[in-house]
Symmetry: C2
Subunit: 126 residues, 2 copies
């Protein structure tokens, strides 16, 4: 880790934390959002910590497991970190599906929070 | 278009412009970048208008055609626009491949430019 730029360390730590929380108890994801945060989930838009956590918590599966194929991180001119994740997920006993997810992270009152998140299943490959 | 939020209009206009340029003559893409722009292409990092255009121009195919499956746009707290595109591309006579691409757009001296771009082929679905 020590040789990687700081924005790559922060981005990959965030990604690891996000999917670990998502796969164990996604009702606990609230701490990573602020009230200005935006989520677009399969084209549906949500804004604010409460609306985002409600959406993620109410997704219609009991168990989910993500595996990450690739993750890329970049610093932005506004001192944010942009991350794109490509991976596969398995929800309950469904078939494995590809997904793509983008995060924009911002330092807010000393902590890194997710201000923007976009998720899409890779359905065109089915 | 008139009913859509301004950030969605700007994001989708940018996406249309980008792929139209890319598919006709990608050596002309320089105008959308600034010297602070970052590109990550299949994990390789490039910074600055010149390095980015050189990378895109030297990609090893003559013809390419993108088709967009889904695009999502969001406003960010720093007045930028975050866009994620999912689609398919056909380069020369190769098979059709899925791809994912993320853009961060910023208003710079009155024009919208791309400060951050990340591209990945959907190779794990092959």
């Amino acid at each position: 880790m020590g040789d990687k730029p700081i924005w790559e360390q922060i981005g990959s730590s965030f990604v690891q934390h996000y999917y670990q929380l998502f796969d164990t108890d996604r009702t606990h994801l609230g701490a990573i959002y602020i009230d200005a945060s935006c989520l677009t989930w399969e084209g549906q838009q949500f804004q604010g910590k409460a609306a985002i956590v409600e959406k993620l918590s109410s997704l219609p599966f009991q168990k989910i497991q993500h595996s990450i194929t690739a993750q890329d991180h970049q610093p932005t001119p506004d001192s944010c970190i942009l991350s794109m994740v490509v991976g596969q997920l398995k929800a309950d006993d469904d078939q494995v599906l590809g997904f793509h997810q983008t995060f924009l992270l911002k330092n807010f009152q000393g902590a890194w929070v997710c201000t923007n998140e976009i998720f899409r299943l890779a359905l065109h490959n089915v």
